[in-house]
């Protein structure tokens, strides 16, 4: 069971009081609205009426709300059990724009549902793909998620879209909001830290009203009805094979971002976190895929996990999965309350910029921590560094990719997608020839345990293996060498071979003589007075310290295989 980190106010299994829960849910909903503008851009660029954008937003909100609650489920095959809200994903923007322009809302709905099916299928395969996603690679993904927020964050915070002579007031508003959020996060205690973002937003809205910085159309949008059933932008669904590749790429990007977000969720909820729980990631991705199928069927667009919300839960110290259920319910409910939804949609741009910069800073640091969780040898350094450099090139020198064919545009248009694919490719290439082997001969006798111990210490140092794993392997091998020597089971030298490939550490011991029987059944303490009892205890300790152990004898030669997950 995961050990709860001491910096959390509400851990994943905790249940905050009702009012606190409502406010925390609302705080997450505020962050989830940050991409609601994407359907507006898609519809406007296709020259379609704004009512279609409103319908897309509402249906996406319903699906994202259900997806967020589904993600928080800790039982069954769907859901990671973490607070990892979903919203309209920027990863879907390119493919969705193309489909909407070419075939209208029906094609967008059909392709979104199909992408959900692809993501669900990917989720089933992800447990077997662990070698492709080591922690440092996921760290690159998470860091790049934060980096990708730099442009929208800085553009809005620094009011780059405002006329050159009128930036002073919006910039001041943005920094005031960011300052309040930062102050409550750094110096706030208890509830003040929990609601740092909400307090910053409230003050930002108030200051925007006083300074006259609310958008002119905000009043009209806020005059909408209190209740209205969400409508579809178009009836029916359609599919077009021409858009299969763009949606497949978007699915991959969204899924990898989901893996990164969910890995951070695992890490921030477990003080002893060492590696990604692939089974949990699989269930989390299945929740994402299910939400996307639902979004397509209802009449929404592609959804992804929201890194900004994961950053928010780190900042607030509240990761309770119940908050996910509350945020999901609130987000879906807002689709039925146009007036309240409008309040979030009209968020002043500098305030939104402050919010994005606030959460991006936590994502960047969380990603760097993931990268630093492994010893960075030359291979890993190259994978991480090159991915960053090429990923950032999409952001800093986009003209370098002007000649890339349209179908690959979603990759090079996103620093996240490019960095991720480069990291996966390099990691896969450098995995070749990674398997390393060391061998030694140990003579049975009083020095055998020490020789065995020293051998694995040498292996661990040469391979840069995790000390915790090397310690367990050393313990098991020292016990084995001591037992077969002292009990007279080994009639000749022990050949010890260690094999390491980043994910596994395997030790094989062969010797002439009688086998040491391995068992996970603990022998009775009273049985320790004779050799048989001691052999049983040694076999038990060897088997229990390894993640897998096997003993066999053939033609008077024994072989014991010990497996350790790295």
């Amino acid at each position: 069971m995961a050990r709860r980190p001491s910096n959390l106010i509400y851990g994943v299994d905790d249940r905050p009081p009702a009012v606190t829960l409502l406010l925390l849910g609302l705080q997450h909903v505020s962050a989830m609205t940050s991409t609601l503008v994407l359907p507006v851009v898609i519809v406007a660029s296709a020259g379609r009426p704004p009512s279609e954008a409103a319908a897309l937003i509402q249906m996406s909100m319903v699906a994202a709300g259900i997806g967020t609650a589904l993600q928080a489920r800790s039982r069954g095959p769907v859901g990671s059990g973490y607070l990892c809200p979903m919203g309209i994903g920027p990863a879907w923007f390119g493919a969705s724009s193309m489909a909407f322009r070419a075939g209208g809302a029906g094609l967008l709905f059909g392709m979104t549902a199909l992408a959900g099916v692809m993501e669900a299928l990917f989720s089933r395969a992800v447990t077997r793909l662990r070698p492709l996603f080591p922690p440092e690679l996921l760290g690159v993904v998470v860091t790049m998620v934060g980096v990708e927020l730099v442009v929208p964050g800085a553009r809005n915070l620094l009011a780059l879209d405002a006329p050159a002579g009128a930036r002073g007031a919006p910039v001041a508003l943005g920094f005031l909001t960011l300052g309040v959020m930062a102050a409550f996060t750094v110096w706030g205690k208890g509830k003040l830290r929990l609601f740092a973002m909400l307090l910053g937003l409230a003050l930002g809205y108030a200051a925007a009203v006083l300074a006259g910085l609310l958008a002119p159309e905000a009043r009209a949008q806020l005059a909408g009805p209190w209740f209205a059933l969400p409508a579809r932008a178009a009836a029916g669904w359609s599919l077009d094979p021409a858009y299969l590749l763009p949606f497949a790429i978007a699915t991959l990007c969204s899924s990898l971002k989901g893996i990164g977000d969910l890995t951070i969720c695992q890490k921030i909820n477990d003080a002893d976190w060492k590696r990604a729980d692939m089974g949990n990631l699989s269930r989390g991705l299945l929740a994402d895929g299910t939400a996307n199928v639902l979004s397509g069927l209802l009449g929404g667009m592609g959804l992804s996990t929201f890194s900004s919300n994961v950053g928010l839960s780190i900042a607030s110290g509240a990761t309770s999965r119940v908050i996910g259920v509350a945020a999901g319910a609130l987000f879906a409910a807002l689709a039925f309350v146009p007036k309240l939804a409008a309040l979030l949609v009209v968020m002043p741009r500098p305030v939104m910029g402050a919010l994005v910069v606030y959460v991006a800073s936590f994502m960047v640091v969380a990603g760097v921590q993931l990268i630093a969780s492994r010893m960075l040898d030359a291979r890993r350094t190259f994978v991480v560094g090159t991915s960053f450099v090429l990923g950032l090139s999409a952001l800093l020198v986009p003209e370098a990719y002007a000649a890339v064919p349209g179908v690959l545009r979603p990759i090079v248009a996103s620093s996240l997608a490019l960095a991720t694919l480069v990291a996966i490719a390099l990691n896969a290439v450098f995995h070749l020839g990674l398997r390393r082997t060391l061998a030694a001969e140990v003579v049975p006798g009083p020095s055998a345990p020490e020789e065995a111990w020293r051998f694995l210490e040498r292996c661990g140092a040469a391979w840069g293996a995790r000390p915790e794993v090397v310690r367990r392997a050393s313990g098991a091998l020292t016990e084995l060498a001591g037992a077969v020597s002292s009990l007279g089971l080994a009639k000749g030298p022990l050949r010890v071979e260690g094999v390491f490939d980043e994910l596994n550490l395997d030790v094989a011991v062969t010797y002439p003589g009688a086998p040491l029987l391995l068992s996970t059944q603990r022998p009775e303490a009273e049985a320790l007075e004779d050799d048989a009892g001691m052999a049983a205890l040694a076999g038990y300790l060897v088997a229990r310290q390894a993640d897998g152990a096997r003993s066999e004898e053939r033609d008077g030669r024994c072989r014991i295989d010990l497996h350790f997950v790295h």
């Binding site: 009083p446 020490e450 050393s474 313990g475 320790l528 040694a538």
Partner: protein, 100 residues
């Protein structure tokens, strides 16, 4: 393996460091046997500097505990390194650790 003995408040402390393996455990047996002859045989083991603790070390503790309880003595592990704790937990002797 190194063993040092101290007396503190009527209790004997054995400070053990290094590896308690199948062969080195004989030294631990000898040190414990010597204490078993003293009265009262109250022993605290300090094993924070033990890198490895194997089945032979477990047998030493089980043997001594049996003798000591027959004579009204006690045995406790005052502090233990992670490898020692792991093995004691695996064999069901985690209760010997007095900080639990």
């Amino acid at each position: 393996m190194q063993i040092a003995r101290r007396e503190s408040g009527g209790e004997y402390e054995l400070w053990i460091s290094g590896r308690v393996d199948a062969f080195a455990a004989a030294e631990l047996d000898a040190a414990l046997d010597e204490l078993a002859r003293l009265s009262p045989p109250r022993v605290a083991l300090r094993m924070i500097e033990v890198d490895f603790f194997g089945s032979a070390g477990v047998r030493s503790l089980v043997r001594y505990r049996k003798k000591a309880s027959a004579w009204g003595g006690t045995l406790r592990v005052a502090d233990a390194s992670e490898p020692v704790r792991t093995v004691l937990d695996l064999v069901g002797l985690g209760g010997l650790c007095s900080d639990r």
